[in-house]
Subunit: 261 residues, 2 copies
């Protein structure tokens, strides 16, 4: 049997290969690849050119992409797919005022993220007007869960065996000279996050950046999301940022939790 | 030939029906329908239940949805699809500081939107901390182009025959008692937006709301997006909001335009 034969059998039951491949095609576009040819998409997705071409033309036909000559780019209509999630989460109007208020009180950007496998995905944020240095996050940005404060807070809520499995499957990639890549060191950080109810990340994500994260508990008591902020490392030490931020963030997290579906 | 036969022939060439249907399934979820059964998705998408089920299970398999019992809901991973577009547009870090600064100067929320057929889609925004009454927009939100200030500014850049075609195809839906539903009245508003280089919408979108929009021109001189703000109708009249906002918005639009890919 060829790979396509297997794909067809899988399709017939509980899976549609074309749909899964099409979603890969969308994700082939990014800041480094805003415009792609059929060959470029085929290369980035490991799909056959004819398949890549058909999926790209489908995106064009449905208004999610446009074609100019031999190159394709996504259109804003793609944003409506993420909007389905955000509005379904009930995050439309209610979450933002809390984030804005916390950001004003901390004088720092704040964000909310959720766990997706071995990554955290940012689902909301509030940024400070005129802030010069900030770790800019945007809805949909992903970070490795194991090396970020938000990820460690979210991983801390997993059952031990599930955490072990994910740790075993993960390759630790150093983002800075400070990034912990030893699994037992990462495990210690996650344990500490569970015990303390917050996590501080010192320069593991970006040199000079300190980030703080606290869990947001849903109505069922489980950790639904992480509330995050960050500060330059030097300033954080000078002003005792962590000591101020953690209690304030906890207070906001307890107000946000009940809003989440 | 059945509809499925036709779909298969179309597929074989330049279109993949399953992929297009899958994208419809994602969009079936919204604030009113955060969780859907197979039957619910089938009803909202007009797809066969077996087809809807297979596409839902594919979303689950790929991590874009989760299943609990008989109901399905989207996961945050869906946001990564929109992120592909935002990062490809180069809107990640560079646009936000301008919006934040304009929002601070106007003391109102501001947003950027682009045209998608007969709708405008919001691609970026900045909101005021502590603002009580604001028309809350979120990335991915859609509005009818014909009844919004942003839409009229964007439609004003279309060639006359293209505008005529879209107007002919559009059903005008009144959102408030003030919404213009007469096509020649809407056409007049669009002409005025073209001539003035800005558009004011008085309570056509929501009672008590005034919105202002100016075009953002790309490096090629064509209108790429609209820059928008809004104010309560009463306050706008009291403080001469439009007279202050328009020149400031134009100045920011001329700085933002060159940033857009």
């Amino acid at each position: 049997m060829t790979e396509d034969d297997i794909a067809q059998i899988k399709d017939a039951q509980n899976f549609n290969t074309s749909f899964a491949r099409g979603l890969k095609v969308i994700r082939a576009f990014d800041a480094m690849h805003p415009r792609l040819s059929v060959a470029g998409v085929a290369e980035r997705t490991k799909l056959d050119r004819a398949v890549a071409r058909r999926l790209l033309l489908t995106l064009v036909e449905e208004g999610f992409a446009k074609q100019e000559g031999k190159t394709f780019e996504l259109t804003a209509k793609i944003l409506t797919l993420g909007y389905s999630y955000l509005s379904a989460m009930g995050l439309d109007q209610r979450l933002q005022p809390y984030l804005d208020e916390l950001s004003a009180q901390l004088e720092q950007a704040v964000s909310v993220s959720v766990l997706d496998g071995s990554e955290t995905i940012f689902i909301a944020r509030s940024e400070r007007v005129g802030q010069i240095m900030a770790y800019v996050v945007r809805t949909g940005l992903r970070l490795s869960a194991f090396s970020s404060a938000s990820g460690r807070v979210l991983l801390a809520d997993l059952p031990q065996d599930e955490l072990d499995r994910r740790l075993a499957d993960t390759e630790m990639v150093a983002l800075t000279p400070f990034t912990k890549t030893d699994k037992s060191a990462v495990r210690d950080e996650i344990s500490r996050a569970r015990m303390n109810g917050y996590c501080v990340n010192e320069q593991e994500l970006e040199e000079g950046l300190l980030s703080v994260s606290v869990p947001i508990h849903g109505p069922d008591g489980r950790v639904r999301a992480a509330l995050n902020t960050n500060c330059t490392y030097t300033k954080a030490l000078q002003i005792g940022f962590v000591e101020t931020a953690v209690p304030l963030m906890r207070s906001f997290a307890s107000q946000i939790g009940p809003l989440m579906h």
